[in-house]
Amino acid sequence: MPDRKFLVTFSPHDRHPETTNKVMMTVIIAMLPIIANSIWYYGYYAVKGYVLTALFCVGFEYLFDKISGRPIAIKDNSALLTGLLLAMNMPAAAPWWTMLVGSFVAIVVSKQVYGGLGQNPFNPALVARVFLLIAWPVEMTSWVRPSPVIHGFLFDTVSSATPLGTLKSDLIAHGHVVTANLATYTDQLIGNVSGCMGGDGAIFVLIGGLFMMNRKIISWHIPVSFLGTLFVFTGIIWLINPQRTIDPFLHIISGGAMLAAFFMATDYVTSPVIKRAQIVFGIGCGLIAGVIRIYGSYPEGTGFAVLIMNAFVPLLDKYMRPLSFGEVKK
């Protein structure tokens, strides 16, 4: 038999079936309940928002790869994921051009210029959200009152403040919580309150998060330490003075805390690779979010909290490296 040429590669020769594009797809699947829920409440606006951000993000990814001569990376599904996450972090009625600019900031400014997938220090969707919030505060805080699809596909908008926004203005105006103005647990859990498209409806976020845990995409470390810290911190303040803020349970189901804990803070690229560093990261997120919500001028703080902790990731990974097997401490 003639000697054939056989493929020579480094070991190992078998691999786990999970691949990066599949991982991203699983996260997208985990988002479906949230997406469905926002379409239920925001109808046409939600559909438009998701479609536009997805198209813009994938489009920018494609264009940038093309122009810079990089291999086209849209197959890894990460741009699609970023687009959907961005939509979740925007008000339903945000104009289309904010979505265009947001997608540009997310994909090009906060990811591609750093070298593409895996290289960006900050969560791209959050960078875009914060940028838009600063550049167009009016458009980014014009909230729409949710209206279930069964009452007709939502076309007309009735503006309405978010529960945490109301809380903040009540505190400023009256110096205490106005109980009558608070959202109910049920409305908050099912997302029947105004806010970012994917931020409310804690139940649906939780379903997606648990699905990702079940599929071993994320572990408990970040969400539990994040939400746990937020709960404990706001709980202490609330116990000391119930007039100062809402109860801790309402805190963790309000204003995108769940979304941030399960979907934003757990972003692989911008969170620590070492488990115990992830716990510190989560605690940091929870604490900063709590401080912003209670003492800051923004009603909502989870997005900022995640971004701030993103900056500490390299340090956390460096200084929290476990001793390797049999390593002798020096």
């Binding site: 590669t9 691949t19 599949k22 991982v23 593409g116 692989y268 002798v328």
Partner: protein, 435 residues
């Protein structure tokens, strides 16, 4: 005995069922067959030929002697003639110095090794090396520089696909046990432990029966790769941690593979040099088998004995899929450490599409040495050897768990292997400068 386990590790598909139930068959020697014996089949100095071209040799006759203390002797696997002493195919080096012998007679007897001298000398003379794949010369391990209180016999066989150790345990349990007891007695070791992974319940049952009679403890091992890694096995069975850069003797343990224990038995009681071994031939071959083959047999003969390739072969791995080497040629010979031949077709290959590292942390969780492969990999790319050393890359056991789990298919362990060699070189040079 409690089971302590180790952190990290993976659960690959074991794929052992196509050969685990098959009794070992002997691959017959035919007149005219050629046998290729590389002089470096083991860790340490290459062997030195002691026979000349055209010389007639007998099965078991010494053809190359150990090239130093850490080295192993090589014996003729057949009755035949040395046709050349030049280059033979070698999986790691491409080609290397070796001896080619052509069989001119088929026979089953062999030239016994002399029983003069110490136990260690007999083992050395018989050319025994570790049979699990690492091929460290066995007599070296049998000469511990420190007090040893436990002999650990490794029957984990945690590499997927391979079943040769499983078959030895089932077919020749007493050789394994008596070989182990022999080592224990000769070295005055107090405890003997035999560890077998739980996916071999028949072997566990069988060995349990002999435990009291031969005075050993049987530890059923949790099934996880790399349970059979020396340091992992010691941690799992004894909860002792071998310090970085040190050998198991540091914590009073020596570890031998079950195949090695059987080879020690044969060398001491039957005076049999190491000229044959059991190889699992599996994957895309018509009938996967466990074969007893002579050293130096080209792997093509093994594949033909299994009915040939199934479909179009794309990759041939010598050893197991986790740590084995892909070979370029079917002329590559079976060597002392060849535990398996695994054939892959295109359709058996995993999806190897590369993506950038997404920092998912899977490699970190999988590393049984508690290293941080994703971060180390960045240093590999930039050839930052100092940083790599500070991240303890030298502690890497090259098990491949990190690469196995990586969804972006980064060449993690491959890079660490190469870097380790560079760093060893740098350390050597540093030492030379300071001396």
């Amino acid at each position: 005995m409690p089971f302590f386990g180790f952190k990290g590790g993976i659960h690959p598909d074991y794929n052992k069922s196509s050969t685990s139930g098959k009794p070992t068959e002997t691959l017959p020697v035919r007149v005219g067959d050629k046998f290729y014996l590389p002089l470096s089949q083991h860790i340490g100095a290459p062997a030195k030929p002691v026979a000349a071209k055209n010389q007639q040799v007998k099965t078991g006759e010494l053809v190359a002697e150990a090239g130093g203390f850490i080295s192993a002797a090589i014996h003729s696997p057949v009755n035949g003639k040395i046709v050349s002493i030049s280059h033979v195919v070698h999986p790691m080096a491409g080609r290397m110095e070796g001896i080619v012998i052509e069989a001119d007679e088929t026979n089953d007897n062999y030239e016994p090794v002399s029983d003069e001298g110490s136990f260690q000398q007999i083992i050395q003379r018989a050319g025994i090396t570790g049979m699990g794949g690492a091929t460290f010369p066995t007599h070296v391990k049998l000469s511990p520089p420190k007090e040893v209180d436990t002999l650990l016999i490794n029957g984990a066989e945690c590499e997927p696909y391979l079943t040769c150790d499983h078959r030895i345990m089932l077919e020749e349990p007493l050789k394994v046990i008596k070989g182990a007891v022999l080592i224990k007695e000769k070295l005055n070791i107090k405890n003997l432990i035999i560890g077998i992974e739980k996916n071999k319940p028949d072997a566990i049952q069988l060995f349990k029966r002999y435990g009291r009679e031969y005075g050993f403890e049987l530890v059923p091992l949790y099934v996880k790769y790399p349970q059979g890694g020396e340091k992992q096995l010691i941690k799992s069975c004894l909860n002792r941690v071998v310090p970085e850069g040190k050998l198991p003797v540091e914590v009073g343990v020596i570890v031998h593979n079950v195949g090695t224990a059987a080879a020690v038995y044969e060398a001491f009681y039957e005076r049999k040099p190491l000229f044959e071994r059991i190889v699992t031939v599996t994957g895309a071959v018509v009938t996967p088998k466990n074969l007893r083959v002579r050293m130096g047999t080209p792997i093509l003969s093994l594949i033909e004995a299994c009915g040939g390739f199934l479909g179009v072969p794309k990759k041939i791995v010598m050893g197991g899929p986790m740590m084995g080497m892909a070979v370029t040629s079917v002329e590559t010979p079976v060597m002392k450490g060849t535990s398996g031949i695994v054939v892959y077709r295109e359709e058996d290959m995993p999806d190897l599409t590369k993506y950038p590292c997404i920092r998912c942390g899977r490699c970190v969780d999988a590393c049984p040495m508690l290293l941080v492969p994703s971060i180390m990999d960045r240093f590999v790319k930039r050839e930052m050897y100092e940083e790599l050393e500070q991240h303890h890359v030298l502690n890497c056991i090259e098990c491949g768990c990190c690469s196995y789990v990586c969804p972006s298919r980064r060449t993690l362990v491959g890079g660490f292997k190469t870097s380790k060699r560079h760093i060893m070189q740098i350390i050597k040079e540093r030492g030379a400068k300071n001396a």
